[in-house]
């Protein structure tokens, strides 16, 4: 008998024979039916089918044989005796059809109560040995397994035992066939074989499923009679695909409690696997399973778990799940020195996951694991290739660790080994991890309150702090813009995160807190150039502390003395920190230093510590004088200084205020660009005209000791007017003049004419002057067409472009080139608006009536 050439033909043959068989059965012609069945079964002998096609065919034939089987059962023993049939079918000349028929008859026979169960089952399994072809053999045995499935359900332990041994025997044979499939055919088709094998794996796995159904909850039986045999087979087959799959199936199909009881056996089996088999996957599967066990518990508390473990029939030693794994790990390390770091890493990660789930608060477990990894790293000597970074990243940033930020924090600060392991990683990875760690910490709303903890955290971040050296070259280029371009600061997100650590430091005691900040500073110092990103955070926190002291004084006046010394100490600390920053980055961040000094000075002033404030102001001036060279920065610095100084109140003693403001104005008048000079000077005019700060309880009209010198104010305005007048560019000149006019209006509004010396006469004169200057400009402006695009000039000299289309305005440092003509209208319009303001003011303020606006047209 031969088989069809392709699957389609084979299937149609099968269908046809099935029909014929059914017809014969209905006519009671058993022999003919068997003949047709046998022809049909011949199709299964075909060696050309792929496993998938074979499976398709098998399903079809399975159904047909079911029909036959039910006929057998129905007519036994009326028309035939199944024992006779069992012999009869053995005459089939070909082994495969013979065995299929035999199993069909045998399993039908098993359904009658008088059948010699044991003998039939044994015989069927024994005879199956005749098929040594892997695919055919696998399916045949699968058929056996499917057919005999219903007969394995029994309560009697003896029978159960026998059944188990039968299934195990079948399983072992199937696995052997399955493994053999790999070694068939030419070498170049090896991969295809592996693929095919994976398609067939379920056939083998079914046996284990069946075993799990039979054994039910009989742990002793599982431990003593199933597992050892199965594991032995797993070890002996020395096949990777098989070992991986089978261990996985074992982990999946048997109950959790069984695994808990046989954990050490399972683990020690993995030691004996073939060298290429992935030990880690097995371990991970187990871990998943055991972690899943906790999830499946109704009361997953640790006490309940412990109780549950005790109730299981396992030795007390293996009740500590972590300990079992730990022992395994050590054994693995001893017995498999060939395993690389990359293979250990996932295992460790798996065990880590386990311990975190089972013993969520046990830090020492974590420590011990990381230590193990660290030692492995050290053993391996050379650095880990970057390709494997991800492994360590998974380990160091394991989700389970980060799951609870507080625990993660504990790990970071309490686990020695975490630090050690961290340090041996590649720089790139370390940086990446630091980033993640910092994110985790900062988002977790944690407070770092002990210095040792802080030291640990910073120790971990070391790599990030120290990268300054390599980045120096790039940051040098940035240096030039640093002062002016504030945006560049936010570019370095890493440093920003690092700086956040300073903000995380907190301790109730101010001294302790100070220590924390000092520690931060010390670490940040290692950052070299990067200090400019980090120090401000420290200084900022010192300010905060100072404020806190101030509050405490307010609340507990009796501690004033002690507190004031603390405050002084803190200011000293701030000063030293700023100096240190100055020393480390010299030219890098002068603008920053300047501002920090100013801010500190302002703070000191608010605490009425004039001396200290003066000191910081003078520091600021020193920086200004010695180092600020960019004209733009200088101008900004003057404006900044003026702002700060104007608000100071504690410097009046010893005329230090006078010294400072004079110096400030002087610097302003010496700026390089005339428009800067002009603006600086009229800004400085405010230094002689203190205004109320309601927070301090001052009130215009009530407080009478404001520092005000109208004469100097006027001087300043006149000076700036002179400068404005001398500017060649008449657009600029006019613009500045209008700005001065605005200033004048301010003083006119806020001060008495007698005290400010800015009177109607002066203003009228200024208006006239501007009008004259504008005449020539107007001619230019008329020539230009109104395109709807508008320009403004800001009070810091920048150009603002407002397009009618876009609601967002653009700011430029240089005048726009293409629309040059339009610029002429800028001061004109500005002037119009100012005049309009004066007109409007006439309604509320009588004094304005004296100002003649004249015809604006």
């Amino acid at each position: 008998m031969s088989y069809a050439e392709n699957i389609e033909q084979a299937i149609s043959n099968c269908r046809q024979q099935t029909v014929l068989m059914q017809r014969c059965l209905s006519q009671g012609k058993l022999m003919d039916a068997l003949k047709h069945t046998s022809i049909m079964l011949t199709e299964l002998r075909s060696p050309t089918l792929s496993p998938k096609q074979y499976y398709e065919l098998y399903i079809l034939i399975y159904d047909s044989l079911s029909i036959l089987s039910s006929y057998f059962v129905e007519c036994h023993p009326k028309k035939h005796h199944l024992a006779d049939l069992y012999e009869l079918v053995q005459y089939a000349g070909n082994i495969l059809p013979r065995l299929y028929l035999m199993i069909t008859v045998g399993s039908s026979y098993l359904q009658s109560s008088d059948a010699p169960r044991e003998e039939i089952l044994k015989d069927m399994i024994e005879m199956c040995k005749g098929v040594q072809n892997p695919i055919r053999g696998l399916f045949l045995r699968y058929y056996l397994s499917q057919r005999t499935k219903p007969f394995f359900e029994t309560e009697d332990p003896e029978a159960k035992r026998a059944n188990i041994s039968l299934i195990v025997a079948n399983f072992i044979e199937m696995n052997k066939l399955w493994v053999r499939l790999q070694h068939q055919g030419p070498l170049r088709e090896r991969e295809q074989r592996t693929r095919e094998r994976k398609e067939l794996k379920i056939l083998v796995g079914t046996n284990l499923v069946r075993l799990s159904q039979i054994v039910e909850s009989d742990f002793a039986m599982y431990r003593d009679e199933i597992l050892p045999l199965v594991l032995e087979q797993v070890v002996q087959c020395r096949d990777i695909v098989s070992q991986e799959y089978l261990l996985d199936v074992i982990c999946q199909v048997f109950p959790d409690e069984f695994h808990l009881g046989t954990l050490s056996e399972l683990l020690s089996t993995t030691l004996k696997l073939s060298p290429a088999a992935p030990v880690n996957e097995v371990v991970l599967t187990l871990v998943e399973r055991l972690n899943g066990y906790i999830d499946r518990q109704e009361h997953p508390g640790p006490d309940e778990l412990a109780k549950k473990l005790e109730s299981l029939d396992i030795s007390s030693e293996s009740q500590n799940v972590f300990f079992v794994f730990w022992k395994f790990l050590n054994q693995l390390n001893e017995e498999r020195p060939d395993l690389s770091l990359q293979e250990f890493a996932p295992i460790i990660k798996g065990i880590l996951k386990l311990t975190l789930r089972w013993y969520p608060d046990n830090l020492s477990n974590v420590d011990v694991l990381l230590k193990f990894m660290y030692e492995k790293c050290k053993e391996s000597g050379q650095t880990v290739p970057e390709d494997y970074d991800y492994l360590f990243q998974e380990l160091l940033l394991a989700n389970d660790l980060r799951h609870d930020p507080r625990f993660f924090y504990q790990v970071l600060t309490k686990c020695e080994s975490y630090q050690k392991l961290f340090r041996v990683q590649n720089k790139g990875l370390q940086k990446f991890c630091v980033n993640e760690i910092l994110d985790a910490i900062t988002h977790a709303d944690l407070r770092i309150s002990s210095e040792t903890e802080l030291q640990k955290i910073l120790g971990v971040c070391e790599v990030m702090i120290e990268v300054g050296a390599e980045k120096a070259s790039s940051s040098l280029i940035l240096d030039e813009d640093d002062g002016t371009d504030a945006e560049k600061w936010s570019l370095n997100a890493d440093q920003e995160k690092l700086a956040k650590i300073a903000h995380l430091c907190y301790n109730k005691s101010i001294e302790k807190h100070t220590e924390l900040l000092i520690a931060c500073r010390e670490w940040f110092q290692k950052g070299d150039k990067n200090a400019k990103y980090l120090y401000p955070a420290v200084i900022c926190n010192i300010w905060k502390l100072i404020r806190k002291c101030q509050l405490m004084i307010k609340r507990k006046p009796q501690r004033r003395e002690k507190m004031s010394t603390t405050i002084k100490q803190l200011f000293k600390l701030a000063s030293r920190t700023i100096n240190e920053l100055y020393n480390t980055c010299e030219g890098g961040c002068l603008d920053l230093l300047y501002k920090l000094n100013l801010q500190t000075a302002s703070l000191a002033d608010q605490l009425e510590l004039g001396d200290i404030a003066y000191d910081f102001f003078s520091q600021a001036f020193t920086i200004f004088e010695e180092s600020l060279s960019d004209s733009r920065t200088q101008f900004q610095a003057i404006v900044n200084m003026a702002q700060t100084l104007q608000k100071t109140r504690s410097l009046y003693a010893e005329s230090s205020y006078d010294t400072l403001i004079t110096r400030c104005t002087l610097h302003g008048s010496k700026l390089l660009k005339k428009q800067d000079q002009c603006r600086a000077v009229y800004t400085c005019s405010h230094l002689w005209w203190a205004t109320e700060i309601s927070l301090l309880g001052e009130e215009e009209g009530v407080t009478d000791n404001f520092f005000r010198e109208g004469k100097r104010v006027l001087e300043c305005l006149q000076r700036s007017l002179r400068v404005a007048d001398s500017i060649m560019d008449n657009v600029q000149s006019c613009q500045l003049m209008v700005e001065i006019l605005n200033r004048c209006c301010y003083y006119f509004v806020h001060g008495d004419e007698n005290s400010t010396h800015v009177g109607t006469k002066y203003i009228n004169g200024l208006i006239e002057l501007i009008k004259t200057n504008l005449k020539s400009l107007k001619m230019e402006a008329n020539q230009g067409e109104d395109s709807g695009e508008r320009f403004f000039i800001g009070t810091d000299g920048s150009y603002i472009h407002q397009s009618p289309v876009n609601s967002v305005s653009a700011v430029y440092n240089k005048p726009p080139t293409s629309k040059g003509n339009n610029l002429a209208s800028v001061p004109i319009e500005f002037f119009q608006r100012t005049l309009q303001y004066i007109e409007d003011q006439k309604d509320v303020d009588e004094r304005f009536k004296a100002i003649s606006v004249g015809s604006t047209s």
Partner: protein
């Protein structure tokens, strides 16, 4: 034509209790291909059994027949080379010949019946119908005449039963139940050991055994067991032999080292011939293990077994 040469007398041989006797069906001996599927039915006798019956002579109505006497004989013979075209030359070796007179010389006027009986006939051989050789038993009734004798043959079948397996010469061992073990191989290629439970089987027996693969470098496609029945006749130079065999696949695919393949072959369902041996004629049975590799080469090992008929 047959009308003229038609025998003037009908002879009918009716064996005692023939209808109720066990019968065997044997494939028709004629070489005519159309008749091949036809079967002859013969009543079965055993060794030592009496053969008796009635011979009825029927004369055509209204005619009479003169004869020189009627004789009945019981003959057992071996016919060798029956297929040889020259029927006459066919050597016949008669090993049994008993005869008795039924009726003296006279004239038959009407039909007449004569009982006959051969008591406790010893039958030494099994009946056999093979390709080259027949072993046949028959009752021969001869009506002697002046002209050609009228002869009638009545064949019957003889089956010998052994309660014990015979101790034939080929099995030197006296212990029949001892399993047959063979260890064969091709150097560095295949090495198997096989084992049958015994070397002598009755016809309804089961051959049970196993094959153990010690070494396989061969890509085996499948393995078969064949049971070969070989009839040999004649003397050395002109010896004729012919074989018939049953093929039974026992393994599919290529086993690995250490694999054991079970053998189980039920003999009962096959039409087998027990061993027998006399003078120039012998029937022997061999069990042959054939391994066919993927390139279609066949490797085989043959070992002789003894089959015997046993009363069940």
């Amino acid at each position: 034509m047959s009308l003229f040469f038609k025998s003037p007398i009908d002879i009918e041989v009716l064996l005692d209790g023939e209808e109720s006797r066990k019968h065997v069906e044997v494939a028709n001996a004629s070489n005519n291909s159309t008749a091949k599927t036809l079967k002859d039915r013969f009543p079965v006798y055993e060794d030592g059994e009496s053969v008796s019956g009635i011979v009825t002579l029927r004369v055509k109505e209204g005619r009479k027949l003169e004869h020189l006497g009627v004789k009945v004989s019981l003959i057992g013979s071996v016919d060798i080379s029956k297929s040889s075209s020259d029927y006459k030359k066919r050597p016949v070796d008669t090993f049994l010949s008993l005869s008795a007179d039924l009726c003296p010389q006279g004239e038959l006027m009407h039909s007449q019946s004569f009982p006959f009986s051969f008591k406790d006939v010893e039958k030494r051989y099994d009946s056999y119908r093979g390709k080259n050789v027949d072993v046949s038993y028959y009752v021969k009734v001869t009506v002697l005449r002046k002209s050609t004798d009228v002869v009638k043959f009545k064949r019957f079948w003889c089956l010998l039963y052994n309660s014990e397996p015979p101790a034939p010469a080929l099995s030197k061992s006296s212990d029949d139940a001892k399993p047959v073990k063979l260890d064969i191989g091709i150097e560095n290629c295949l090495h198997i050991e096989f084992e049958y439970s015994k070397s002598q089987y009755s016809l309804k027996d089961v051959i049970v055994g196993r094959i153990y693969f010690l070494l396989t470098r061969l890509k085996v496609k499948h393995m078969e067991l064949s049971l070969v029945t070989r009839e040999t006749c004649g003397l050395e130079p002109n010896q004729l032999s012919d074989t018939t065999s049953i093929r039974y696949e026992i393994m599919d695919g290529s086993p690995v080292k250490g694999e054991t393949i079970p053998i189980r072959l039920f003999l009962g369902g096959y039409d087998l011939t027990p061993n027998s041996n006399f003078n120039h004629f012998s029937i022997r049975n061999y069990l042959s293990l054939v391994i066919i590799d993927e390139d279609g080469r066949r490797y085989f090992k043959q070992s002789e077994i003894v089959l015997y008929r046993k009363r069940n």
